[in-house]
Structures are given as structure tokens and as C-alpha cells.
Symmetry: C2
Subunit: 369 residues, 2 copies
């Protein structure tokens, strides 16, 4: 019996980067230009495939046009790609790694950043002079130059005016650049959150953005609240048996605000409440996955799946699907927002899936469970 | 110059209760029957006025019918009150204190409980055998018997099955009573949260329920999140410059969950974020207030208001309107969810309004500001 493993089919491109040095010096701190960060880079997608994806309902796409310093942005899906016949145009597709398997391999090069931090692979195709304009992202990104050349400028973290240039287009004011470079295929730009950047194609360009998410307190709280609303459990209620008649009628005193605050604080600090939230939340994708429910006649039962795999059929993880586990939640794996209790014997096999590969022996053993 | 004060017009009914003993022994702990808690009680509203209120869009009303041990509940507004001609019927109006000034005076008897804890005065009118059935509330309540007699049973806090008998009617299973009494006008029943109770009219009855709210963690968090979504400020974003390459790809480790938890915990423990929320939240009513925007020609400017008050016109607080301040937020008063910065000279006058009265001199001085 032989099972093909994903390793065998994996692309051969390699990251040329001292990872330890990068993490301790640049990650979350400073922008970095990595000349030939991927040697012998060859594109994983074509401009025609990009247009094809942008026609799909499920793919989040945008077109940005820059004409005489006027900006215009439109959201997809698109049927008309004629703007891409003119200079100054950019087509952007989000989460291409969910829809185009080879592009997913590019993301794997960045597995030194934990999977829960990863958001998606955005790809842009720009005609000469095309770009989305100067802007600041709250997330951080590795931008890899594919075909063509693009002139990128990046500034250090700085306070800049931000304004809306067209519906879906937020720009920032002019900034001083610490990186000013014409990128060539295989060059990589690392941009931490808060650093202004702008890139304009010199020649028609493909740019691959491996993006990471970092929630702020408000987003996290909002998502936690949504999560709790779906849970069916009971919570502690405010109670004040210690109340004394001396209290002023219109006053909320410090003892009371402390008790109210503690109710909230205890909730977010309660491991059996907050840890499953983190697992579910960060194993979910912000973008649609390429999952279709199987038709009745296509349903597999456990036994036939095992037989097929044992006979050498190949199982593949849905592109972009996240397997996450928490150090503090033993025997638990989160897959795409769902929580699974895991047999301790199967734990190793699940962790292999969490590592990002799709080892066929592990899949088989888990199914045989 | 003489200004009428609310004190002069206040009703003469008094609470016959050792408040210190009540608070230290019963409040939030045990149900209590207070025989003739209000001596010489006389009704503040009539069954006809109850029906009138239940016709209004703004008043939250319910009718509950009990026919051969079948329960039926309906939400108002109502035009047909014929069910009240039969036995076993109850009409309930929420927040009557917002719509019927004399009823508001009844609430004032319970000013030894801080205003922020108060929810509303619900009044029920039941025909013989009428009641809402055995149930458990998460809030606590003083039920005052008005006209007629009603047989009430109350149990200690206990775990009981709960089920839905009709859309808006949640019941609990049979319970053992520690209080079993036929209430007469002026009798009071105090029921802490979680204690099962049921009351059936012996004669057509009016019951006045002075209810207090106590949020649970989930409600509080949900309302806090809604509050934050309306705020325009920036929050701390997750950042991990300390990331090392050793981290497992699929793992969220303890250091990371601690940091994520701290983001949430810091937010709810940040006084300048959480205190204004408490003030706004607990000065807002859960029920509509009797506030109508003034027509253009009825608008008062500051000067004319001052003149009118100085000339002896009487200013009244909108019924049910809450003035709240926090020990920890100096020079700040919250009125119906709005935050006001207060001149320290005017603080005393504002606190008089927070005490629940509507002292005309204070109103005048605040306006003269
Ligand atoms: O490819 C582009 O034009 C935009 C890339 C970018 O700004 C980003 O990935 O943050
Ligand atoms: O007046 C009624 O029928 C219901 C009163 C009650 O259950 C309450 O106030 O909690
Ligand atoms: Co960007
Ligand atoms: Co009740």
C-alpha cells in the first residue's frame, strides 16, 4: 500500500530569509525589502485566471482605476474586464488560496507565522501605473512580486491623515519612504501594521500579498459576544445582598462599579468560556471556503472512505481550511470554527493535520479511529 | 417668589418596614411577606385606566387567560377587553410609572434601593382565579396588593423545570411554598430573584410590582459591546513582536491566549471606557419614556425657561427619567443614557435631581448655570 503525500507534489520554491533574524528585528516592527526572497520565482496564476476568479460570486474581488489622479473603486463579481486594457488599472482578488490550489503552496512558505494569525492570500494584477494608492493597513503583509516590475514605497509607522477617495478606497496623505524600490519577480516586501505604502506597476504586474490578521480589542469583544449569544449556558447575575440603606439613590458607587466590572472581567478570564472562543474564532476563515455539500449519491460512509484511502486514493484538505489546537485545551481540535474532542491516541495524527500538511496515513488512522 | 416643590404634592402613604433589617436579612436572599407594608393603602389607578393604557402603542401590555388549566397569552396593544369579563384573566402593563404620574409616587417608597437597580412598575389587573401561573423571575420584585384579594404562594430559591406554556408565557413546575397567603390591600410581598411564585385572584385584584433589574454577564457584555460600537475611538490591536520560529504552526499557545485574554480584560477594566458605559447604560430605561419632541413654536430658550420658573411656573421631571452619577466619575451626570459634564458649582443641584426629587430651586440654578 502506498499513499501519495502532499510533500511529494509541493512546489520547489524556497524562502531565502534568516527567519530568526527577521522575527527578532522586523516582524511587527519595521518594513523590510527582501531582494530575491524567493529565488527563481515563477508565477502560480495567470492574469486570465485572475479574471476568471473575479467573475465568481464567491470570490471577493475589487477593481481600482487611477485616471489623471482620480481614483475609482468597484467591487466584483465582474463580467467586463475592459478597464484592464488601459494603464492605471488594478484587479484584486481576496483569498485566492481558497480557490486556486497552487497559490496555496505560496502561503506554506510562511508557516513560521502561526496559522491562527494568517488571514488570506490576496493577489493583484495591475497594468502600468496601476496601484491602489497610498494607504495604511491594520494588518501586516508580505508582498511578493510576480511577473512584471512594480515601484513600491513604504514608510515607517507614522501618524497620517486618512480619507476616503472612493467608496471602497481609503487613502492616506503623502509620506516619507524608508523603502523605495522597483520590485522584480521573486522580490518580497514585508510591511508591518500601520506603515503607509503605495505601489505602482512599471510593467503589468502580479503581486501576491500573504496577509495576517490582528484583531483589536473592539473586534475581539464583538466577536466574543456573538460567540456567547450562540452558546446555551447560564451566567452569573449581579446580586447585592450586602446593600445598605446609606447608599445615595442616584449614585453608582465604587463598590458597585467594581462588582459590575468583575462580572465582565470574570467572563473573559474564565478559561472554559474564552478558550473555546479563541479556538473557534481563529480556526474560522474571514473568507468563504470552497466547500460544497455533497449530493446524496456522493455521500461517503466511514468504511468506504477508509477502504478508498487504504487502496491508495488521495485525500486533500479543503484549500484554506484551518486546523487549530490550544496548548491549554487538551484533546481538542478546532476545524473551521467547529470544536472536536479528540481521542488522545489520535492526537498526534490531528496535530500533523494542524501542522498544515495532509499526511495520508494520519487521515487514514483518524478515520479508522 | 415661591416655587411649589414636589414634596408638597407627594402622596402620604408610607412604607412600614425596618429597612436595615430587611436589607441585611431578606434582600436578594429570602422572600418576605409584609402584612400591611403600606397602611391605609388606596389604589393609584383604576381598572379602566389600566385598559386605557393597554390600548396605547407605547405601553408594553399583555393579557393572560387561564381556562380549564389551559394557558393563553397575548401581547397588546388591545382594543377588545372582553376577556376581562370572565374569570381567570389578567391584564398586565409594564412601566406604568412612565405613563401615570401618581403610580410613580409608589416607586418613590423604595428609594432605599439605588435608582440604577430599578427597572419599572408593572401593574396587573386580574379577575377571580386570574394569574400568570407558576414562574421564576431573574429580577426581584416587591408586589403590593391593591384592590381585592389575591392568593399568593412563594417558594425559596430552588432548581425547577421551566417550560413554555404559550408564546410569551414561561412556567415552572410545582414547588413547595414558604409563603402561602391571601393578600389584602396594602400587603407587600418581596420576592428575590430565582424564587418561584404564583398568585391567583380571590376577588378582582390590582397588583403593583416594583421590579429591579440585575444584568447577567452575557447581557452586560452584549450591551457593553453595543455601546462600544457607537463609540469613535481607537483600541489596542494584537501584536506579537516577541514571536519566535519555534512555535507550532497549528497551535495557539498559552502566551498567546494570555495576550488575547488581556486585550479583552484590559478593555473591561479601563475606567475611561467602562465607567461611562455603566452611567449611560443604567440611566437608560428598558421601557419607552413619555417624551415627545416639542413642536417648533413650543421650543423654549434658556432665558424664557428661567423667567418662567422664576415667575413660579412648575418644572417636572419626565416620569421614570433617571439621573445617575458615579462616585468615580467626578463632575459627570448621566440622564437617560446621555452623559453631561457638570460645573462643580452646579454639582449639588444635579445631585438633588439624582436623589429623585425635582427641586425647583435646583432646576432654576442649573438653568441659570
Ligand atoms: O497589490 C496591491 O496593489 C495592493 C497590495 C497591498 O497594499 C497590500 O497587500 O497591503
Ligand atoms: O401580577 C401578576 O400577576 C404577576 C406579578 C409577578 O409575577 C411579578 O411581579 O413578578
Ligand atoms: Co496594503
Ligand atoms: Co413574577
Amino acid at each position: 500500500m502506498s499513499l501519495p503525500s502532499k510533500e511529494l507534489t509541493r512546489m520547489t520554491m524556497q524562502l531565502q530569509l534568516d527567519i530568526n533574524h527577521f522575527l527578532s528585528t522586523y516582524w511587527q516592527r519595521k518594513p523590510l525589502f527582501i531582494k530575491q526572497g524567493i529565488a527563481n520565482f515563477s508565477d502560480l496564476i495567470s492574469p486570465e485566471e485572475m479574471a476568471g476568479l473575479a467573475m465568481e460570486e464567491e470570490v471577493q474581488s475589487r477593481m481600482v482605476m487611477r485616471r489623471d489622479d482620480k481614483w475609482q473603486a468597484q467591487c466584483g463579481p465582474f463580467t467586463d474586464f475592459s478597464p484592464l486594457e488601459s494603464n492605471g488599472s488594478t484587479l484584486l482578488n481576496q483569498a485566492v488560496n481558497h480557490w486556486h490550489a497552487p497559490c496555496g503552496d505560496l502561503v506554506d512558505l510562511f508557516q513560521f507565522i502561526p496559522n491562527w494569525r494568517f488571514d488570506d492570500l490576496m493577489i493583484s494584477y495591475s497594468t502600468p501605473e496601476g496601484g491602489v494608492g497610498p494607504h495604511i493597513d491594520q494588518y501586516c503583509v508580505f508582498i511578493i512580486q510576480g511577473q512584471g516590475k512594480r515601484h513600491w514605497r513604504v514608510g515607517e509607522k507614522q501618524d497620517l491623515e486618512e480619507f476616503t477617495s472612493d467608496q471602497a478606497l481609503k487613502h492616506c496623505g503623502p509620506f516619507q519612504a524608508c523603502i523605495d524600490v522597483v520590485m522584480e519577480p521573486g522580490d518580497i516586501l514585508y510591511i508591518p501594521p500601520g506603515c503607509p505604502h503605495e505601489g505602482y506597476a512599471v510593467e503589468s504586474s502580479l503581486n501576491y500579498s500573504v496577509g495576517f490578521r490582528a484583531p483589536d480589542q473592539k473586534e475581539l469583544l464583538n466577536d466574543f459576544t456573538d460567540h456567547l449569544l450562540q452558546q446555551d449556558r447560564s451566567y452569573t447575575r449581579y446580586s447585592d445582598p450586602e446593600l445598605r440603606a446609606e447608599q445615595n439613590y442616584g449614585e453608582i458607587n465604587a463598590h458597585e462599579t467594581n462588582k459590575l466590572t468583575a462580572l465582565l472581567s470574570d467572563l473573559v478570564n474564565q478559561p472554559d468560556v474564552i478558550l473555546p472562543f479563541f479556538g473557534q474564532h481563529f480556526s474560522s476563515s474571514n473568507h468563504e471556503l470552497d466547500i460544497l455539500p455533497l449530493a446524496e449519491q456522493e455521500q461517503w460512509d466511514q468504511a468506504s472512505l477508509i477502504d478508498a484511502l487504504a487502496a491508495g486514493e488521495y485525500a486533500e484538505k479543503v484549500a484554506g481550511l484551518k486546523f487549530i489546537y490550544l496548548t491549554e485545551l487538551t484533546n481538542t481540535v478546532f476545524v473551521n470554527g467547529q470544536q472536536y474532542q479528540v481521542d488522545s491516541a489520535a492526537l498526534k495524527d490531528y496535530q500533523i493535520l494542524c501542522q498544515g500538511g495532509c499526511n495520508q496515513m494520519s487521515v487514514l488512522r483518524i478515520l479508522q479511529g
